[in-house]
């Protein structure tokens, strides 16, 4: 391999483990119990093929029977139970979820059919890609003894409402009728995938330990003959990636190409190796409010980041008041942000993408620049946008049970209960302790529900 090619293949692909023997297996938990992920997955695949064979044989008999039987006597075909047909691996990015699947497939001589967030996963496309391959064998399969297949649905939390419409039901259907084992990967818990989570076993995959990561990194450094990386550099990028091995390897590759000798410059470059993490957002927010001086700089800052602006502008909303303290500046900044929000809403509603440039400038530059004169240089904590305005219409568990108890006695809608009846109950209860007892006896409330009424 010549000098040029060395950088062409991403090291992440180059050093992707070919077999689980050469891989550092991340530890995993299922239902709170620690398990060996590789063994569990191999076990899962073996059991799957065992069971599916039995079921296929059984179904074949039924089909033969049904062909001759009367309509009334026909029997139903069996399906594999969902929890035996698919598993879900959950864990932060870059810890080896995809790698372990490929390594196992390689070891067991299987072919991996993958779909990930880069594909649009609407019902139609998913069906086209997976369903056929999951149900039947290809024509070639009859001619030659084919490889068994393994279906990998990667980045399943990247399935978004409107863009990937109908994907979740399709996947659930797929799980029911599949002829091949399915492994899904996800980074975070998402409520929209709840139905999926309920159906199948879920493995929480933990990041590798520091020493294991160091072993792998040192091996790569040795193989690639990198000399320019000092121990401090390594510490820096390791700290930055927090167990994200893929990110670490990517950084390492980028770093090995830097020839700048100046240590401060090097550090800057290392830290600028962006990755989509919360930390990056923290940096963007600080830069936006404390270092950006011109509209172009603000534009650059938001353009360069991989962070979804849908997400970023909520962060800006949350942190605006702590960074801008002058009232006039704050008002101007919020005015711009409010218009940006309105524009964003219109873009989403009417698909008026021509408005997008205004949104870009208003939510970043429009927010950062008003406060430029009275800027404070000190360190400010960046807070996470916990509050989401959509929560105002949803109820938590004790609220729900309170509502149900009231509805059993007094037929109102949920919203009416909350806006009309509960405020009255609160006042009624506040009058005397006796009233509290009367109400709680009447509705048979528990402690949590009583607390809601206080």
């Amino acid at each position: 391999m010549n000098e040029k090619d060395k950088f062409k293949i991403p090291w992440v692909e180059k050093y992707r483990p070919k077999s689980i023997k050469e891989m550092a297996i991340p530890s995993a938990k299922v239902k709170g119990q620690k398990v060996n992920l590789a063994e569990e997955l191999i076990e899962f695949i073996k059991i799957f093929f065992n069971d599916i064979e039995k079921i296929n044989r059984f179904n074949q008999e039924i089909r033969v029977f049904n062909r001759n039987a009367q309509e009334k006597e026909q029997k139903k075909e069996k399906n594999l139970p969902q929890e035996k047909a698919a598993v879900l691996l959950e864990g932060q990015p870059g810890i080896g979820k995809t790698s372990i699947v490929y390594a196992i497939a390689n070891d067991l001589n299987m072919e991996v059919i993958e779909t990930n967030a880069s594909d649009t996963r609407t019902r139609d496309t998913l069906e086209a890609k997976l369903k056929e391959s999951s149900k039947s064998k290809g024509i070639m399969d009859f001619i030659s003894e084919s490889k068994k297949k393994l279906i990998l649905i990667d980045e399943i939390d990247g399935i978004y409402g409107t863009k990937d419409r109908g994907a979740v039901p399709t996947i659930l259907e797929l799980i029911k009728s599949t002829q091949f084992p399915i492994i899904m990967c996800a980074n975070e818990y998402k409520t929209s995938l709840q139905s999926l989570y309920n159906a199948i076993p879920r493995y929480e995959v933990n990041p590798l330990s520091k020493s294991e990561i160091l072993k792998i990194i040192n091996k790569i450094i040795e193989r690639e003959q990198i000399e320019s990386i000092s121990q401090e550099d390594l510490e820096l990028i390791m700290g930055k990636n927090e167990g994200d091995l893929r990110g670490l390897i990517n950084d390492l590759q980028a770093l090995s190409q830097i020839t700048d000798e100046n240590p401060i410059e090097r550090n800057k470059i290392i830290l600028s190796l962006h990755r989509d993490t919360t930390k990056e957002i923290f940096g963007i927010i600080r830069d936006l409010f404390q270092t950006v001086n011109t509209l172009n700089e603000a534009r650059d800052l938001t353009n360069k980041s991989d962070v979804d602006y849908n997400f970023l502008y909520k962060w800006i909303n949350e942190n605006l008041p702590s960074f801008i303290q002058n009232k006039n500046d704050l008002t101007n900044a919020f005015e711009n942000l409010a218009i940006a929000d309105q524009i964003f809403g219109r873009i989403n509603k009417n698909m008026q993408w021509s408005l997008l440039p205004y949104f870009y400038d208003l939510f970043a530059g429009g927010v950062a620049l008003p406060g430029i004169e009275n800027r404070s240089k000190g360190f400010k904590t960046v807070s996470f946008p916990r509050y989401s305005s959509s929560t105002s219409y949803s109820f938590n568990i004790s609220e729900k049970s309170l509502i149900q108890k009231i509805q059993a006695k007094y037929p109102l809608s949920e919203i009416e209960v909350f806006r009309d009846f509960i405020p009255f109950l609160r006042i009624f209860i506040s009058i005397s302790r006796r009233n509290l007892k009367i109400v709680s006896d009447w509705l048979e409330l528990d402690a949590k529900e009583k607390k809601l009424l206080k």
């Binding site: 419409r165 709840q194 919020f334 942000l337 409010a338 929000d341 809608s413």
Partner: protein, 344 residues
């Protein structure tokens, strides 16, 4: 039954206070065992739903449970219901014409909440089932889907649509219904009701109090009963003083605090306050702004100042209609009020 408003909730049509002519018209339908689609119009909290329900109960009699449904048009579908809705269907290609093979979409709301009920056959010995749709105007463009339903399934299911704003309902729907203006309870009946409560509960209610109650509640019975129930009854008598004391308790103090904090320019506090209010009372954004307006109207401010504030709120409300994040719009409003407060 510890809560009076439930205790004095009418259980039959005859028990409904006042509104005699309306009830006799409704009873006519019951006698003839026939009714058109109805549209109930009247202001909030006046008893439209109670009347509709009691009417349906007496009309359907013992088959009430299986043949009656009440749906709220203003409550959005839950995630589950949404996934239930098959949002795509195809027009058969065998039909000749430009629409053949095209996708058609039925609004999820109608598909999940309305259609299954209206399509199901009547159970029992009654002419048809009854569907009550509350806050019908909130259906918006989905009303278009409703008009066909009213025709196709009309023989199977009659509908009672309830609304506070007839202007929000499209003409084709209005023309398919018989209109019922639900009047306020008249003062005489209101008076009688409270005299009854007074004798049942062993408290004396002064005549002035009943008059004032009628005025401040706009004839909303449940609100008036609520007010009386939380009055201090230790003296065995409710006079205007005790009434005003209990009226004070109904104020949402948080909103006043919110406006005060905004005036003072304490942005962080104001922000926490409004987030709290939204999550406790589950207001939607429009209701929230209405509440603020109510409070501002009562504040001792100059005419100019009030108009300016209303201007600001209107602007925020208008933007929130388009915008994606309510939080931003309210935050912006608060920051503007703080500037305004500084200059005052």
């Amino acid at each position: 039954m510890p809560i009076w408003r439930l205790k004095y909730l009418p259980k039959t049509l005859d028990e409904i206070w006042g509104r005699k002519s309306l009830i006799s018209r409704l009873k006519d339908f019951i006698e003839k065992k026939n009714l058109p689609h109805l549209l109930f119009i009247g202001s909030e909290g006046i008893g439209k739903t109670t009347i509709a329900k009691l009417f349906a109960k007496e009309f359907l009699n013992s088959y009430f449970n299986a043949n009656f449904k009440l749906i709220y048009a203003d409550i959005p579908l839950t995630q589950e219901e949404r996934s239930l809705a098959k949002s795509e269907a195809y027009i058969s290609t065998s039909k000749i014409g430009s629409m053949a093979g095209r996708k058609i979409t039925t609004p999820a709301f109608i598909q999940v909440k309305v259609k299954p009920f209206v399509q199901l056959k009547v159970i029992g010995d009654i002419p048809f089932k009854i569907l009550v749709v509350k806050n019908f105007e909130a259906l918006g463009s989905n009303q278009q889907g409703f008009r066909r339903l009213m025709e196709i399934y009309g023989s199977n299911c009659r509908m009672i649509l309830i609304t506070t704003k007839i202007s929000g309902i499209i003409d084709p729907i209005v023309s398919r219904c018989q209109l019922f203006l639900i009047p306020q309870i008249d003062f005489n009946s209101f008076n009688k009701l409270f005299l009854k409560i007074s004798s049942n509960e062993n408290v004396e209610i002064e005549k002035d109090v009943i008059k004032t109650l009628y005025k401040i509640t706009d004839g909303r019975i449940s609100k008036a009963i609520d007010l009386v129930q939380i009055c201090d009854k230790s003296d065995g008598i409710i006079n205007l003083n005790t009434l005003f004391e209990s009226l004070k308790k109904f104020k949402i103090e948080e909103i006043e605090k919110l406006i005060l904090a905004s005036f003072k320019g304490d942005f962080i506090k104001a922000r926490n306050l409004f987030r709290n209010i939204l999550s406790i009372y589950k207001y939607n954004i429009n209701d929230f702004f209405q509440k603020i307006l109510e409070v501002i109207n009562k504040l001792p401010l100059s005419k100019y100042a009030k108009i300016k504030l209303i201007n600001l709120i209107a602007e925020a409300d208008f933007r929130a209609l388009d915008g994606r994040d309510v939080d931003i719009q309210i935050s912006s409003l608060i920051s503007k009020i703080s500037i305004f407060g500084e200059n005052m």
